[in-house]
Amino acid sequence: MLKRRVIPVMLWKDIGLVKGVGFDSWRRTGTILPQIRVYNLRCVDELILLDIGATAEGREPDYETIRDVAPECFVPLTVGGGIRTLEQVGRLLLAGADKISINSEVYSNPGLITAIARRYGSQCVVVSVDVRRTADGYECFRHSGSLATGIGPVEWAIEAERRGAGELLLTSIERDGTMTGYDLELVKAVSDAVRIPVIAGGGAGTFEHLHDALVCGGASAVAASSMFHFTQQTPLEAKEYLAARGVPVRRFAVSGERRTNR
């Protein structure tokens, strides 16, 4: 059986890693390489690295940095932020990204999803969808949550899947950084609407939150950031908790040396 995944998210802005609340109020959390090394030891299932300044600043992805850090990541690495063309995707994959995450650009240019899927396979296309609750329900936002798109997440998820997306990274902007739990209604609505894997994001604070997104929300994976940066909880313990509650997670052999790193 395919295992459910626990995926730390690293947000990168300017020269370091940050974490905010509601896509704002950024706090520095460190530098990329040491964090990747710790996550290698903690047996995370995957890592996501998002350059959250690139689109806002009109920059291209920082290929040099990806080339430096990606080969040190011995689990799959998804890279996003500022991607606008097929050529940029090719450069990121060559720099060492395993998958790429696209968000703002594809609302106006959804054909890019198809172009990437055709060239590199749909499995490396993660469409990142940032969502706010509105008076009428839910709405997708682009440019790090700053611009409304007028489209709902279920409709957009179905469109992204149809265009060739391999996975969806679904983030609740309101829950982001709050550690109050995922928006389970949103996670379930989107997971039920598509057949591609949905990674739930935004709001994880406890192991029970992870469990609920996977079991009640139907997500294939859970992304989390604040709970790993700002609390004592580790991805390894998260998976032990999930396994104890009957969620299929990756089995791994952990040496005594690694155990002491907890």
Partner: protein
Amino acid sequence: MKILIIDYGLGNLASVRRAVEECGGDPLVSALPADIARSSHLILPGVGAFADGMSLLRERGWVEPLKAAVRDDRIPLLGICLGMQLLADRGDEGGESDGLGLIPGVVERLRPAGAEERIPHVGWNAVRQVRPDALFTGIPDETDFYFVHSYAVRPADASVVIGMTPHAGGFVSAVRSGSAHGVQFHPEKSVPAGFTLLRNFLAV
């Protein structure tokens, strides 16, 4: 002697190179088929569609040198993910195309076996070792490896199958035929078991 990582314009070469280094090998990422002559082992990585992969291998002159190295000179070759699929006779991702023909069989799109299953098959899944093989030395049966793919090899001859994975009704996740090895998962991204498998391959 070098561990030759074949650069044909597709795939995560830097990760494979770093993993080979971590596993004690001396990697050479090369776009020159002539470098096969100074290599003890060949690794064919790959991310992408079958037809693109084959046309790039053809354009860059790898097809005949690779076949000769594996069939005649018995140099161990490890195909990873798309690299495993390219070992087969034929695939139809991105248009029907002939493969390298080192593993008799075809590449087919996975079909979900139930409502719970999703394609692409992305994530950690178990490899059942259906046949003992040096590639699996020191790796417990049913160990999870990282997969990310929508297609898989269906070999014509069951005797080449060394690993099976329970998704899409069960697909072939590891093969060996002579010195041609293939794994559908990514050992370079499956620390720690994946590194054990790479070390085993370098010891072949």
